[in-house]
Point group: C2
């Protein structure tokens, strides 16, 4: 769709975390998922550089693997990541933290690296202890699988192993000049990150120092994952990891690298929103001519979190009154009688009142573009969400996650 | 239910806006509702006092009747209220404001009072002009009906005339010492007031000055309507009006009057939540031992606005992890490992981790009590919400409001 951010650059490279040189990955089934699907993944950076950066959920109820990984990343180095689905290991107390520690120690020993350079990610039901008698053998199996098969298969297997209610696995890639970036992500619900999001691992064979990685990752997340808001619910486990092997020997210009990274993160964020639980419409909310970018984001998010707006879109109802009532709850600079609202190109609200014929709006397709012109400045922000459907209610009332 | 606020005092008196002496009311069908149901109401204060107070939505996109009524109430006097369903008259520009003005002028002329002492309330679809050729004759019919029938019938007819997606009309009453308070309310969706709520008219035959009325009304709203949060969506039309006729000749102690008023407002707020669109559970969220009452309210509201929590309750799933993940998004004072959560009396989360067996929680009934103990202070706040159901999605995707 023309109104979505250009993702062609992110689609140009080979996909996934093993596309860049210097990385191995695997994903295996260890029995944590009752379906028998893959549920344990390992991603290893073989270097020569072990530079890394990460951002984590701002939720104050943070899972044990988040508490652990924050310490691991503090020195800007990571040798490996071990990830599991089938259990979030959140709200699990000292026993849960001990299980994360043990997982890191076991993975590190199997790989011959240090536990303090081993990141851990978990996703699944909150408040349940991980089945360590399944997880530990799973780590062994994943490490054993690292040496077999094509590298890209390992990346795809890892991407599959971190899925929960995702219906498809998410991978992306970017081909730079002499280097590449690859990534994987999971997330379909509890999808409204604060500073970070879901589980995401991005790899690159560029040679980039930790400080530059950190700055590029934070800048990319701010306008990619942080602009994805499916259901307003922030997870306890959100983590985005970036690891650089330096295997290409190329050190790109920071701006070029940041642009490539942002393209990969945006592509992954859009894949998350497109696979959000029960969604029938992908909705892009662009707030224009705001006094500041922050106010534009606030307005877009207020609309994205309105259940009445989201159910209206599900019902293919271009109900701009529900948009204005959401805008009116914010403290952004605007005059109510100067707001224009377009839905899929039809300006249904002009100057805060009735605009063009709402019957001209076609909401039968999956993509919806809402443009809110505050006429109060020159800044803008785009946010991505989805509609609120029967399937969302069904999935989240029948599925304990 | 024992955990709901005591409403026995509010149930003690005769019900509705015509229960107190000095008031007449009527509700008629003027054709604004396609169903042919009542849609225009008038409530008149015959005095001798005309003291009044009102609070309005804090939504910055305020409807024309809100803009008008704010001016009317500024001198602490109101002689009458004219209300219509079948159209919110919000986002309707100068023409919409003109229609509100004309409605007040016409009503005032028919009653022999001043337009500047005539409040106007509207509810229904945003962004559509009112059908004045139906509304004006409706006002005439309502004024003509004021003099006929029993007083209580007029109050009930008025309560019926302001319904939109409400399935039942809402009335309440309180019997004071020598005076009484009566009230009516409407509201079933877009139900998360800021400072005011929905359409509510409360009457009393006590002799109370406007300043005391205003103080009592704001205090009552703060812990009644402001604690009802069905779907997180704030209306453009929320209005609560309080009128005192003084017909009893009794001037109650301010504290006693405020307590009676709070009882009526709480009773009406609970009736609104119980009739919220598509709800299958009435949920009371009580946050205990917070550092401040404001932080307790913030925590309760964060949980009340979590779609994942609300769908879990619909699915009869005591998913306390979704409660903690919502609590963790707030800036209230707490330590994550010191939070206890009980659902219907079962402490499913103790010290931020797994507590008693979640299978002990019975969510088959309509009433749900969630108690969140922050162990961070001595203040508390209770908020009322409901679950997120298939019926909510159906009603709000199929019904343009």
């Amino acid at each position: 769709m023309s109104h979505l951010p250009a993702t062609s650059t992110a689609d140009s490279g080979p996909f996934g975390v093993t596309a860049p040189a210097g990385f191995r990955a695997a994903g295996v089934a260890a029995g944590l998922k009752s379906t028998g699907a893959r549920d344990v993944a390992v991603v290893v950076n073989d270097g020569p550089s072990k530079a890394a950066a990460a951002v984590f959920t701002s939720n104050r109820v943070a899972a044990a693997p988040v508490l652990w990984s924050r310490q691991v990343i503090s020195d800007g180095r990571a040798d490996a990541v071990v990830l599991n689905s089938g259990g979030a290991n959140a709200c699990t107390g000292p026993e849960g933290f001990g299980n994360t520690h043990r997982t890191a120690e076991h993975t590190a020993a199997a790989l011959g690296v240090s536990a303090t350079d081993t990141l851990v990610c978990s996703t699944g039901l909150i408040g349940v202890q991980l089945p360590m008698d399944q997880l530990i053998p799973g780590v062994d199996a994943a490490v054993a699988a690292l040496g077999t098969g094509a590298e890209n298969d390992g990346g795809s297997a890892a991407a599959a192993a971190i899925m929960t209610t995702d219906t498809v696995s998410k991978e992306s890639g970017f081909a730079g000049t002499g280097y590449s970036i690859g990534g994987m992500a999971k997330g379909a619900g509890m999808l409204a990150p604060g500073l970070a999001t879901m589980l995401v691992v991005v790899t690159t064979d560029a040679d980039v120092d930790p400080d530059t990685l950190d700055a590029a990752l934070r800048a990319a997340c701010r306008i990619s994952f942080d602009r994805a808001d499916s259901d307003g619910c922030m997870s306890t486990n959100d983590t985005v990891i970036l690891m650089a092997s330096g295997a290409s020997g190329v050190t790109p210009e920071p701006d070029e690298f940041a642009a490539g990274l942002t393209a990969v993160c945006t592509d992954l964020a859009l894949q998350l929103i497109r696979d959000a639980e029960g969604a029938a419409h992908n909705i892009t909310i662009r707030t224009l001519n705001a006094a500041t970018e922050g106010e534009a984001e606030t307005v877009s998010r207020a609309v994205a979190r309105s259940n009445l707006f989201k159910t209206a879109i599900f019902g293919q109802d271009p109900n701009w009154g529900r948009i204005l009532s959401a805008v009116g709850t914010t403290d952004a600079a605007f005059e109510p009688d100067e707001i224009d609202v377009s839905i899929n190109g039809v300006m249904v609200c002009r100057g805060g009142g009735v605009g063009d014929d709402r019957d001209l709006v076609d909401l039968s397709g999956r993509e919806v573009l809402v443009e809110i012109d505050l006429n109060a400045g020159a800044d803008e922000a785009t946010l991505w969400t989805n509609d609120l459907t029967h399937e969302y209610v069904h999935e989240n009332s029948a599925y304990s996650s």
